[in-house]
């Protein structure tokens, strides 16, 4: 009996496929480190400020973003290099990074993250004393 109900309410195959999570893109990044901290640049074309979701979970930095594009009604695709509007990428961080003070800016579709090192853990120059 219950089975019959299930079958009747089952969505068509097409609907099922559409509700599957969209493909996500892994944005290309540049990452470099200085004595002050780590700088990360990520290409996120089409992402407005409110489309960006940055968070730190445990020691993982997660970048999630949704691109927005003006697409006229009734457009037919002819060619597409980019086949999703969702970006996602994660990085594990290490202890010496101060995750509470990450500075983020988004400009022209490029995300710049500056992750400072904890002050007490910045490398110190050790002077060699010459007698």
């Amino acid at each position: 009996m219950a089975e019959t109900t299930n079958i009747s309410t089952q969505p068509s195959q097409e609907t099922t496929r559409r509700s599957e999570p969209e493909i996500t893109l892994s944005p290309p990044v540049d990452i470099c480190e200085t004595d002050e901290g780590i700088t990360l640049l990520a290409d996120l074309p089409g992402v407005p400020r409110d489309g960006l979701n940055l968070r730190v979970e445990g020691n993982t930095l997660l970048i999630e973003a949704n691109a927005h594009l003006d697409v006229p009604e009734g457009i037919q695709p002819l060619f597409a290099d980019v086949r999703s509007t969702c970006y996602r990428r994660g990085f594990t961080l290490s202890n010496e990074l101060d995750t509470g003070n990450i500075d983020a800016s988004l400009q022209n579709g490029v995300l710049i993250l500056r992750i400072p090192k904890r002050a007490e853990l910045k490398p110190r120059k050790i002077e060699v004393q010459v007698h």
Partner: protein
Amino acid sequence: MFGSLTNFESSLYDQFRRMERELDELFGQTWPATSIRSASRGAFPAVNVGATPDNIQVYLFVPGVDPKSLDISIQENVLTVSGQRSESSQENARYYRRERFNGEFSRAIALPEDADPARVEARCRDGILHITVQRREAAKPRQIQVK
């Protein structure tokens, strides 16, 4: 809305992609014939093209490129966009990853035959260059009245 441009609904497209990739691997990208102006996969900038009955929409993904450095030209039905993205390295920094494109680029896109080179508009926002090319009147589908 955007989904209509990026999500090809049929899995047939995926199969074509797979086949194309496999053929690329087998024949080193020389067979089957590709469009003479096509770029290799992963080329910068990425391009999406779509069309409506009135116009052709071209989207170039140009994050971090100064819109003023872009050079857009159209000849017959070939649209060419070139520019540069120069990334200055941070001083005294150790680089772990450099995946982002750096340097000059140029990409040509063959538009449908009915593209009107006289009516082109370009806008740039959030790292996406959106070019609209109007189609010639004659090419639009016309309703034919039965008398």
